[in-house]
């Protein structure tokens, strides 16, 4: 089963310029989402977007800077849920910048950890089967409802 996303994009601008758009809150907002990012290791921030009912996400992504190497690498956690404090989405976003040709940038994006959702279901089931199954059923019913009424 697929558990991660990889994407690659080539830009005509150099890594220094692309880096600005990955690490300055007002520039990130131009192409990604409104946010309160700061290029500081351990900084916790949020991306805000409209709710995504089909995925049962309330539109707030909770992130934390996990690794930062100027102009080369940026890693942050990326979590989300329906707003009840439980993260149904628990992933890590990793950006890598490489020089490409004359003055260009090869930007690699990796989002990993999608598998964790299953693991958390398995783990919590071992800890409290009955209650968690009920939670899952409610969750499924809700997401099924969303699918039939997009």
């Amino acid at each position: 089963m697929q558990t991660e996303i990889k994407n690659e994009w080539i830009y005509g601008q150099g890594p220094e310029q692309v880096w600005e758009y990955l690490t300055k809150a007002e520039l990130i907002a131009l192409w990604l989402m409104p946010n309160n990012f700061k290029p500081i290791l351990g900084h916790e921030f949020q991306f805000t977007v409209k709710p995504i009912p089909s995925l049962d996400l309330d539109g707030i992504f909770y992130c934390k800077v996990l690794e930062i190497v100027d102009y080369r690498k940026l890693v942050y956690s990326w979590k989300g849920g329906s707003g009840n404090g439980v993260f149904t989405l628990d992933t890590v976003v990793e950006w890598t910048l490489e020089k490409q040709g004359k003055g260009g940038t090869r930007l690699l994006l990796k989002q990993t950890g999608f598998k964790e959702i299953n693991h958390s279901i398995f783990t919590s089931m071992t800890n409290g089967w009955q209650s968690n199954i009920q939670k899952m059923i409610n969750h499924l019913n809700a997401s099924h409802h969303d699918r039939t009424n997009p």
Binding site: W31, N118, M125, I133, I137
Partner: protein
């Protein structure tokens, strides 16, 4: 469910893995069956439980969503970067 992720099992075989009565295990299986997580097939005198992947389509939905999401965002970044140079 973790047990079923490896192979299909009979209800009796499943019950042996849990410290609860056979009727209690049956009740849990019925809940999972109702929720669409497993299917039950009669083979001979035994009832086999099979994990259904449909219940996990949500995971694929997440992946598909973010795949499209990043693709469109990275393209937008390209447009913004190019306009900035001009």
């Amino acid at each position: 469910m973790k047990l079923l992720s490896k192979d299909s099992m009979t209800i009796n075989a499943l019950a042996e893995n849990f410290d609860m009565s056979r009727p209690a295990v049956s009740k849990h299986i019925k809940i999972m069956y109702t929720a669409g997580f497993i299917s039950i097939t009669d083979i001979g005198r035994e009832r086999y439980c099979v994990l259904k992947q449909d219940g996990f389509n949500e995971l694929q939905d997440f992946i598909n969503f973010f795949d499209n999401f990043w693709n469109s965002k990275l393209k937008k970044l390209e447009t913004i970067l190019n306009n900035r140079i001009k």
